[in-house]
Symmetry: C2
Subunit: 607 residues, 2 copies
C-alpha cells in the first residue's frame, strides 16, 4: 500500500477531474510524440527501398515524399472533422460503429490496440538500441533495460494525465526544438548555396540506369514512408483528456501536430535529397544530416540524443490512446468492465497496466530485439484510418448538414488514399508477417464478442424483469458441523446464535467414546444450542452431513440452509496442509447446492 502511494501518489477526488485534464500545451507533447517521432526514420525507409534500384532512383524520393505530405494534409482535415463530430473520443472505433456496423468497428479497435502495443515495444526497443550502440557494455542488459523503461512509463502514466504530461513535455518539446533547428538551418543552407557541388547533383548526373525501378518498387517506398503518418489518430481517441472545450482544443492540437510533422518530414526529405544522402548500414540518415549540418561536435550529439528521446517518448502516446479506447470498448461491453473504471489518479489504470504488460511480454519474447516486429507495424493504423474515413463518408451521405459536400469530399479523398495505402502496405508486407496482424485482429474480435455475449447473457439472467415481485420471507436453518468442543467451535456457535433463528450443532458419530466426551463438554459450552448426533456406519463425515442437509431441505423445500464452519486459520501457510481438509471438501460438495450458504467463522492462530 505504501509503495503504491509512493509510486502513484495520493488519490485524486472525482470532483477534481476537470483540473486533471490537459491544456493544449501539455496535450501536444503527449499526443504528438508518436506521430512526430516517425520523422526519425520515415525518410530513411523511403530511400532504403528506392536504392534497391540504384542510387539514381533516389530522385523518386521527392514525389513519394510529396504524396506523403498530401496524405498528412488529408488526414489532418479528416480527423479534425471526426474530432468535431465525435467529441466523446473513440476515434475510428466509434465512427465505424455508428456508421458502418459492429464488425468494422471491432476491426478498427483491434487493429489500433495491436498497433499501440507494437508502438510501445518497438519504440522502447529502439531507444534502448540507441543507448547500447553508444555504450556497448550495456548490450547484455537490453532486455532488462527495456522492461524498466516500460515500467517507468507505466508508473508515470498511473500518476495521472497531468503529471505524466508535465513530466514528458519538457524532453518532447526539447527534442522537437532540436530537430526543428536542424531542419531549419539545413534547409536554409541548402537554399542559400544551391550550386555547390552537392552529392545530389553529382548523383543525378552520374547516369540514369533506372533498370529495376518498377512501379511496385515506388509503391513499396511509398508504403515504407507511410510510417510517417502513424500516430496521427491518437488525438481522436483521447479527446476526453483535453480541457473544455474538448473538441476545439483537440482540433487545434491536431493542427499544430500536423504542421510540425509535415515541416520536419518535408525538411528532412528535402535535405536528404539535396545533399545526396544514402542510407548506410552503420549510420542513420538523421545522423548523417546532423553531422552535415552541425559538424561532429557537441550539437551533433545533442541532436542524436534528442532523436533517441523522441523515439522512446512515442511509447507515451500509445499510453494516451490505448486506455481511452479500451475504456470505450468496455463501456460497450466488449472488454471487461474494469477497463472503464477510473483508478486513484483519474486515469484508466487497468488499461495502462494491460498495455504495459503486453508490450513487456513482446519485449521479453523477442529479448529486446524487435526488428521482426517492424513489418507488423503501421498496418493496424492504416486499417483504422481507412475505416474511419469510410465511416465518415457514409455519415455525410446520410446526415448531410452544413457544407456536407466539402466534408464528404475530404473524407472521400481520405478514404481512397488511405485505402490504397493500406492495400499497398498489407500486400508488400504480407509475407513478412503482416498476416499475423490480421490473425490477431480476428482473435481479438472473437474475444470482444465472447465478452459481450457473456455480459449480455449475465444481464438477462440477473434481470429482475423476470421476477414479478420481491420474494416472501423464508426460514433459515443454521447447521454447525463440529468434531470436538474447542474455542474455534464455541466461537462459531457464538456467531451463529447472534443471528437468532434455528441453530443446530451436528456431530458425526465415528467413535462412540469420542462422541460421549463431546456430549458432556457440550452441556457446558454449547450456549444452549441443541447438539444433534448423526450415525455414520461408513465413517464418512461428508456423506452423513450431506444426508442431513438433504433431509432438512425435504422438510421445507423453501428454506435457506446456512452451514457455519468453525475454521482454524494457521499462522503459517504450510500449516494449512494440517487443517481444514474436511472444510474444503464440504465447500466443494455444497457449492452447487441451491439455497445452501456456507459461512466460515475463522479462528486465527497466532503461532
Amino acid at each position: 500500500m505504501l509503495l503504491k502511494r509512493w509510486l502513484v501518489g495520493d488519490p485524486i477526488k472525482t470532483a477534481q477531474a476537470a483540473d486533471e485534464r490537459l491544456t493544449k500545451t501539455l496535450a501536444l507533447p503527449v499526443f504528438s510524440s508518436n506521430a512526430i517521432s516517425s520523422v526519425a526514420y520515415a525518410t530513411e525507409e523511403i530511400l532504403l527501398v528506392l536504392t534497391l534500384a540504384g542510387t539514381a532512383a533516389i530522385i523518386w524520393s521527392i514525389p513519394v515524399s510529396l504524396a506523403i505530405l498530401f496524405l498528412i494534409l488529408v488526414l489532418t482535415i479528416s480527423y479534425r472533422q471526426i474530432i468535431h463530430e465525435y467529441p466523446e473520443g473513440g476515434g475510428a472505433y466509434l465512427v465505424a460503429r455508428t456508421n458502418l456496423g459492429e464488425v468494422p468497428a471491432l476491426v478498427a479497435a483491434a487493429a489500433l490496440m495491436i498497433d499501440y502495443v507494437l508502438t510501445v515495444a518497438v519504440s522502447v526497443a529502439a531507444g534502448v538500441a540507441a543507448l547500447t550502440s553508444a555504450v556497448p557494455d550495456l548490450f547484455q542488459h537490453r532486455g532488462t533495460m527495456g522492461l524498466v523503461a516500460i515500467l517507468f512509463i507505466v508508473v508515470m502514466n498511473l500518476r495521472g494525465m497531468r503529471e505524466s504530461g508535465k513530466f514528458f513535455a519538457i524532453p518532447t518539446y526539447f527534442a522537437i526544438g532540436m530537430l526543428g533547428v536542424m531542419v531549419a538551418s539545413g534547409t536554409i543552407l541548402s537554399l542559400l548555396a544551391p550550386d555547390t557541388d552537392s552529392a545530389a547533383r553529382s548523383l543525378s548526373g552520374a547516369g540514369t540506369h533506372l533498370e529495376g525501378l518498377t512501379l511496385f518498387l515506388i509503391l513499396r517506398s511509398f508504403a515504407a514512408g507511410c510510417s510517417a503518418v502513424t500516430g496521427m489518430e491518437v488525438i481522436s481517441n483521447g479527446i476526453k483528456s483535453f480541457r473544455h472545450p474538448e473538441s476545439r482544443n483537440a482540433a487545434a492540437t491536431m493542427l499544430w501536430m500536423s504542421a510540425i510533422l509535415a515541416s520536419l518530414f518535408a525538411g528532412i526529405s528535402w535535405m536528404a535529397y539535396h545533399y545526396g544522402i544514402l542510407p548506410k548500414v552503420d549510420e542513420t540518415v538523421m545522423s548523417q544530416l546532423a553531422r552535415l549540418t552541425f559538424g561532429t561536435g557537441l550539437t551533433y550529439y545533442i541532436v542524436q540524443l534528442a532523436t533517441m528521446m523522441l523515439l522512446v517518448l512515442a511509447a507515451n502516446s500509445a499510453f494516451a490512446g490505448f486506455p481511452q479506447l479500451a475504456s470505450i470498448l468496455a463501456r460497450d461491453g466488449f472488454m471487461p468492465h474494469q477497463m472503464a473504471t477510473f483508478g486513484d489518479r483519474l486515469v484508466f489504470s487497468n488499461g495502462i497496466i494491460i498495455l504495459g504488460l503486453f508490450a513487456g511480454m513482446l519485449l521479453f519474447l523477442f529479448e529486446g530485439d524487435t526488428h521482426a516486429l517492424i513489418p507488423l507495424y503501421a498496418i493496424g493504423v492504416f486499417v483504422s484510418f481507412t475505416l474511419s474515413q469510410a465511416g465518415m463518408v457514409k455519415r455525410w451521405l446520410v446526415k448531410k448538414g452544413l457544407r456536407w459536400r466539402y466534408k464528404l469530399a475530404v473524407n472521400g479523398v481520405g478514404a481512397v488514399t488511405t485505402g490504397i495505402a493500406t492495400v499497398i502496405i498489407a500486400s508488400t508486407k504480407f509475407v513478412q508477417g503482416a498476416w499475423i496482424v490480421f490473425l490477431l485482429v480476428a482473435l481479438l474480435i472473437f474475444m470482444f464478442r465472447g465478452i459481450r455475449s457473456h455480459y449480455k447473457a449475465v444481464s438477462e439472467q440477473v434481470s429482475l424483469s423476470r421476477d414479478s415481485r420481491p420474494p416472501r420471507p423464508r426460514r433459515n436453518i443454521v447447521i454447525i458441523p463440529i468434531g470436538a468442543v474447542n474455542r474455534a467451535v464455541v466461537r462459531a456457535v457464538d456467531y451463529a446464535r447472534s443471528h437468532g433463528g434455528e441453530v443446530k450443532a451436528v456431530l458425526i458419530d465415528v467413535d462412540k467414546e469420542e462422541t460421549a466426551l463431546v456430549e458432556i463438554k457440550w452441556a457446558q459450552w454449547g450456549c444452549g444450542v441443541p447438539l444433534i448426533v448423526l450415525p455414520s456406519p461408513y465413517r464418512s463425515i461428508l456423506r452423513a452431513l450431506l444426508g442431513y442437509i438433504e433431509e432438512q431441505r425435504q422438510k421445507d423445500p423453501e428454506c435457506w440452509i446456512t452451514v457455519v464452519i468453525p475454521e482454524i486459520l494457521p499462522a503459517q501457510w504450510w500449516q494449512n496442509i494440517l487443517h481444514n481438509q474436511r472444510a474444503l471438501m464440504l465447500k466443494a460438495a455444497l457449492l452447487f447446492k441451491d439455497r445452501v450458504v456456507l459461512t466460515d467463522v475463522p479462528f486465527h492462530l497466532t503461532r
Copy 2:
C-alpha cells in the same frame, strides 16, 4: 465418484471391521513376501563380494550364511517377544518410544518409512527389469510400466486388507512353493550324490590363493547377505491387521515366515556352494541353480517367473507396514491426523496413497533404473532392528517379570548382533549413498517434530480451559454491499433477511445518476431493508466500505459484523475474470479483521 466405486469398491461398515482382518493363511503371504523374496538375491550378494578375493574364497560363503541363519533365529525370537509385549503394533517405533525416548523412536520410524518407500520402488523396478530382459521391446516403456504396477498395487490395497490379501496370496504361495520344490530337490540331489565331480570340489582344490581375503571383505559379504533378513519386522508393525487373538496369530505367522525364509536361504546357499556356482554378469545365481536342478525346460521358466513375481510382491508387504506405522505416528501427533483415519474400506487410505506417491516419484526420478538405490536399502531396517532390540533390553531390565532373564538374553544377543550388522552395513555402504538415508532420517525427524509442536500449539490455543465460561450473546450487524439492483442482490437480501436481526444494504456513491437509479429500484425490490448510501470522493468502493465497517465496530466493539456478498458464479471458468474482482479484494481485506464474517450468497449463471 463412480470411478472410485468401481476401483475401490463400496464402503465397508465400521461394525464389520473384525471380518476385514486377516486370517493366518492370508496374513502369511501379505507380510512375508518382502522377507522371503530376498532369498532371490541374498546368496548372490554374498558370493559377489567374496569372489573379489578369488574363486577359492567362496568357501567363506558357508560361515557367512550360518551367521545370517543365526541372525534370522535371533530376530524371530526377539520379534515374537515384541509382538507379545506390544499387541497394538507399531513395532520398533513403539518399543523405542516407551523404553528409550522420543528421538530413538522417531529415528526408528523414519528409518523404516524410508526403507518401505525404497522397497516398493526397488522391487517394482526389479520385476519390470526381469520382464524387459525377457521382452526387450518393452524396455523403453519401463518407466510407465513401473508406475502402472505401483498404481495397481495401490488400488488393490485401497480395496481393503482382506481383498488385497486374497488377491496376492495365490501368486505368493505359488512362488514360495516353486522355490521350495527347487531347493528341496536340489538339496536332496546334492546329498544323494556327494562325490560327483562337482565344480565346488574342483574349485576348492584348485588352489588356496586367499590373497586379499581380509576380515573387512568377509564383513562386507556378511553385510551384503544381511539383505536376507530385511522385511522380518513388518509383522510387528501391523499386528492390528490380524484376527483375534492378534498377538498369538501374529507370532505364529512370524514363526512360519522365518521357517520358510531360513530353509530357502540355507538351501540356496548350500546348493550354490555345493555346485560351485559363481555370480555371472548375464545370469543370476537363482537362474543357474534352476537350470542345474531342472534343466532348461518349462520348469526352469516357471521357477524364473515365480522368482520375478515374488520380487514384485515384496512391494505389497511395504503397503502392509507403512500405513500402519504412519497411522500410529499420526495418533501421536507426528504426522497429519488424516493418516490415522480409516478410508472407505477400513484401511489407512492416505498412508497407502502417500507410499505409492513417493515410490512412484523415486521410480520417475530414476527413470525406472533404481540400481543407485540399492546401497540405501537395508540400513533403515537394521537401524530399526537395533533400536527395537535395545528398547526391549531396557524394558526387561526395568519391568522384569516372568522368565525375564531369558528374554533379556535373547533381546541382548539380538541388539548386539543387529547393532554390529548395522555398523558394518553403514560403514561399508556409507560413501555409496548410505549417508543420504541418515540425512533423510534427520529431515523426517525435523518434520515429525514440527508437525507435533504445531498440533500442540493449536490445541493450547483452542483449548477452552483458558475461557472461564461460555460467551454472552452479542449483536450481529449484517451489511450487504451492493452496486446495482438485480436478481443476485435480491437473493442476497432475501438470505440476509431470513436470519432476522439488523440488515443494511450499503451502496457506494461513485456516480450520482447511477445512485439515483439504484435508489428508485430499491424502493420496489429492497424487501424493506434500509439502503445506506456512502459517499466516496475517491471512487474507492473498498475504502468506503471498510470505513463504514470500522464505524459500526466503534459503536459496538462487542458485536459481530456479517458482510453478505451477492456473488455471481459464472458457468465457465474463464468468465471468472469478468466477475467478482471486487468480492475477492473485499475478502482479502476482511480476512484478518476480528469478528467480521464473510458470507457469499452465490447466484449461479447457467450460461
